[in-house]
Symmetry: C2
Subunit: 227 residues, 2 copies
């Protein structure tokens, strides 16, 4: 897997020591995170919305493909194809509570992908991208569902963006305070954060047990299989 090679658009301008070049770390974050935020240019202003997404490391675009899913009727989805978009995926890992306001920070991992958005026209690629999107939420779930109807496929738009032009930035570890603030004795520390699942809430009209894939996903996110 090729390293992340910064371009003028993805080169970090600040805190360069937080940049990572290892593409496998980028892929790990994209695998773990559940939503992305996509930025699209509207009339003279940007629009940023949260989206479901999926990654195909062997997709048809350079560096692999990230797919973003939306309705054909959404404003941003109408504007995006053929334009450069920015897809940002962030995991918030903790609050860094330093001894001064200035040194307060957060622990996080953040991937930024910039690239030309392509509307997925091919029916096979669109169906595959939809399955990847479901499997991104619960691995293996797509294969347990009926195939999409032609009407469903027509109502869903998939954007494909190359994973080629991407950066990964992260902060980890503890506080980073001035010696005089440490000497002053103020308390400092880190409050770790993570996204955690609760108990699975099975739909009242279902008599089936919670599928293994859902149980595993809930357990991986710290949740239980519920009733």
């Amino acid at each position: 897997m090729a390293d992340l090679s910064p371009t003028d658009r993805t080169r970090l301008t600040r805190e360069k020591e937080r940049g990572r070049r290892d593409r496998s770390e980028l892929m790990a974050l994209l695998d773990e995170a559940i939503i992305a935020h996509i930025g699209v240019i509207a009339d003279q202003h940007p629009v940023v919305v949260p989206v479901a997404f999926a990654v195909d490391p062997d997709g048809p675009d350079e560096g692999g493909t990230i797919y973003v899913h939306g309705s054909v009727g959404a404003g941003w989805m109408r504007r995006a194809p053929g334009t450069d978009v920015c897809i940002t995926v962030t995991a918030l890992d903790g609050l860094v509570l330093a001894r001064s306001a200035f040194n307060h920070s957060m622990n996080y991992r953040c991937a930024v992908v910039i690239g030309r958005a392509r509307r997925v026209e091919d029916a096979e690629e669109r169906a595959r991208a939809m399955s990847l999107t479901v499997d991104h939420v619960v691995p293996g779930r797509a294969a347990t569902l009926r195939p999409n109807t032609p009407k469903e496929l027509a109502a869903t738009q998939m954007l494909a963006v190359p994973l080629h032009e991407a950066s990964l930035k992260m902060r980890t570890g503890g506080v980073n305070d001035e010696p005089e603030d440490v000497a002053a004795g103020t308390w400092a520390g880190v409050l770790p954060l993570r996204l955690v699942a609760g108990a699975v809430e099975t739909d009242a009209e279902t008599s089936e047990p919670v599928p293994d894939g859902v149980r595993r996903r809930a357990a991986a996110l710290g949740g239980s299989s519920g009733q």
Copy 2:
């Protein structure tokens, strides 16, 4: 508090039934969420980055002010002042695991604020915005810290954006499946998600006990006060 009045830029184009007009619900989400994603237009492409933020309901801008904090050296921070930016705050509340790929969804709350970014020049407003940013992370913490030095204030840039032009969209509840998919007996349900704190990790060079404000914040996020 005035209702949210959609403009051409914040009117929902899809799933309008998910839109909320109650400004107090917007403020509640901004209070709860820890990070925002800001979108800024760079050279012909958008850039989206995660940021710390704070809200001043009585700030000098129409509808109150949302402050976004960053380094004077960051590329997006240099570009933003005087341009229209988009600040998006999302809480992911659950995975909606339907009986078809198409009806899969997520429960979420999402605020989108679009407005002209103003660089905060006034030293008093900047100091206040920094305190609000610290207090947004841990309520009451700013008052327990030493004042910012002139050098720290000079190195921090604060952007102010009016909270006037904003939308709030949310999805709550269970799956919404087709009758024939329910009849087919496939399992469906919701996996609730929330951001949870772990145990406080006190810095090794601190002999002070965990401050009450940090304890309360950890407890509110489901964490413990650690060692």
